[in-house]
């Protein structure tokens, strides 16, 4: 589905990604863990075209998408739940969801998915005509996930989707992820809660100051001594 090869990203003089290579196979759940400032968000931003890679390549479904504009990449089947939710606060909840479906033309399918998202997050339905900015933090997070789902992505990138969520809601988000994964969506997940992420993931990458230092199947990393120390607080 997605291949990163030797990806380098700079913010001005800051070398944020120092040659990252990753594979996200079709149908897999891949997770990216690492300390604050390791470059996790930057990796997702590079994949979705929000920052340009200075060197290296990104391949989506066999097509080279390096340097392509975001709207092109998103229209090729990638959706992202960005860090910090980024709800459109002046748009209603319904409009936020419709923004997620912006490139789509199939009105019947969009209505169907609107139903689907609101069964995943019933709370959104009650607040359909409320402005996005008036939602609580947790509700905004659900809206951000729902909005990403509205594009019917083939690859869903999530940047800390459970941040600030009460444990019950976090479970709801994870349940939703498992469900859309079962429906065939590939998932690339960044998660504060490394344990939950590693449990869920088929394969995981550990990022440290812009480089991948470790990788392996989720359960395997979960057992790894160094990982347990650094990221599971044990």
């Amino acid at each position: 589905m997605l291949k990163l090869r030797d990806l380098h990203v700079y913010y001005g003089g800051i070398h944020a990604l120092k040659g990252i290579s990753m594979d996200v196979p079709e149908g897999a759940i891949i997770t990216l863990i690492g300390a604050n400032g390791a470059g996790k968000s930057t990796t997702l931003r590079a994949i979705t075209g929000l920052v340009k890679a200075r060197r290296g390549s990104i391949e989506l479904k066999g097509k080279n998408i390096t340097g392509r504009p975001s709207h092109y990449i998103v229209r090729s089947g990638v959706a992202m739940v960005p860090e910090g939710r980024k709800i459109f606060r002046n748009l209603t909840v319904r409009e936020n969801l419709m923004m997620g479906a912006y490139p789509r033309q199939d009105n019947a399918g969009i209505q169907q998915d609107l139903e689907w998202v609101t069964t995943l997050f019933p709370r959104l339905k009650e607040r359909f005509s409320q402005k996005g900015g008036t939602l609580s933090g947790g509700e905004q997070q659900m809206l951000a996930v729902g909005r990403a789902l509205m594009s019917r992505p083939r690859l869903l990138c999530l940047d800390e989707p459970s941040l600030g969520l009460a444990p019950v809601l976090m479970h709801e988000v994870f349940r939703a992820l498992t469900r859309i994964h079962e429906e065939g969506c590939t998932i690339l997940l960044i998660e504060q809660n490394a344990k939950a992420a590693l449990k869920l993931a088929d394969y995981a990458y550990v990022l440290e100051t812009g480089s991948i230092t470790m990788e392996g199947p989720g359960p395997e990393l979960l057992q790894n001594e160094a990982v347990r120390k650094a990221y599971l607080g044990e």
Binding site: S70, K86, L91, M99, P103, S151
Partner: protein, 297 residues
Amino acid sequence: MTLETLIQQLMNGISLGSLYALIAIGYTMVYGILRLINFAHSDIFMVGAYFAFFFVAVFHLPWAVSAILAVVLTAAVGMIVDRAAYRPVRNAPRISALITAVGVSFFLENLGLVTVGARPKAFQRPDVMSKVVPIGPAAVSGVSIWVPILSLALLALLLFIVHRTKVGMAMRSVSTDIETTRLMGVDVDRVISYTFAIGSALAAAGGIMWACKYPQINPLMGIYPGWKAFTAAVVGGIGNITGAMIGGFLIGLVEIMTVAVLPGLSGYRDGIIFTLLLVFLLIRPTGILGEPLKEKV
């Protein structure tokens, strides 16, 4: 003041105000999206009037056809200005874009001076605009009636586009968060381009109606109405479309009424408006409908 003159002056103020409102939309929409004061907008207004002038006077096209063609062509000019001048500096510091806008403004004005000359041209307005219509005891000129009606229709159409269509939704989302709008698969450059088209079309409609009201056109005719409309956008709360409309009507009415009540000061009418702007901004810096400034922590 007699009832007769009051009605006349009110209609006069409303029609002037509706023109300010039409022009103010372009300032406020572009500012809302790009945080750019498009100084060239007042010249786009002038371009619209000249297009209509040429279609009517030179090509002898029917009035309605000329007006529509002029609006469409001016919308295209607005898109070209964005594409050629503003898009290349989109990621540059904001001051570069601002200076570019001043440059485009001078360019259009001087292009006008070179191509059509500085001598004002007499604008042939359609008969309905000059016909006098009785309202109660007052005789009001057709301009003062048709201009507000047409303007309100255009403003209603604009509100429909912005609040009820997909591209309008994208315009509103771009104005809160460009980057996240990109993540929705929206080609933001295209949405910005449409925004310039809409703003320029309204300015052209304003320019044509302005020329019907004051039937002398020249390449610098946009400057004063432009400043007033910009003032209207600021007073309404820049970035807010409804605010720009309210601001436009308010400025138009205040301007006409000041002169009507204090005819001795008519020479100072522009000065009075801009002084009012300054005072208003001291009291309410974000305008009538602007969001209160958030303290940066």
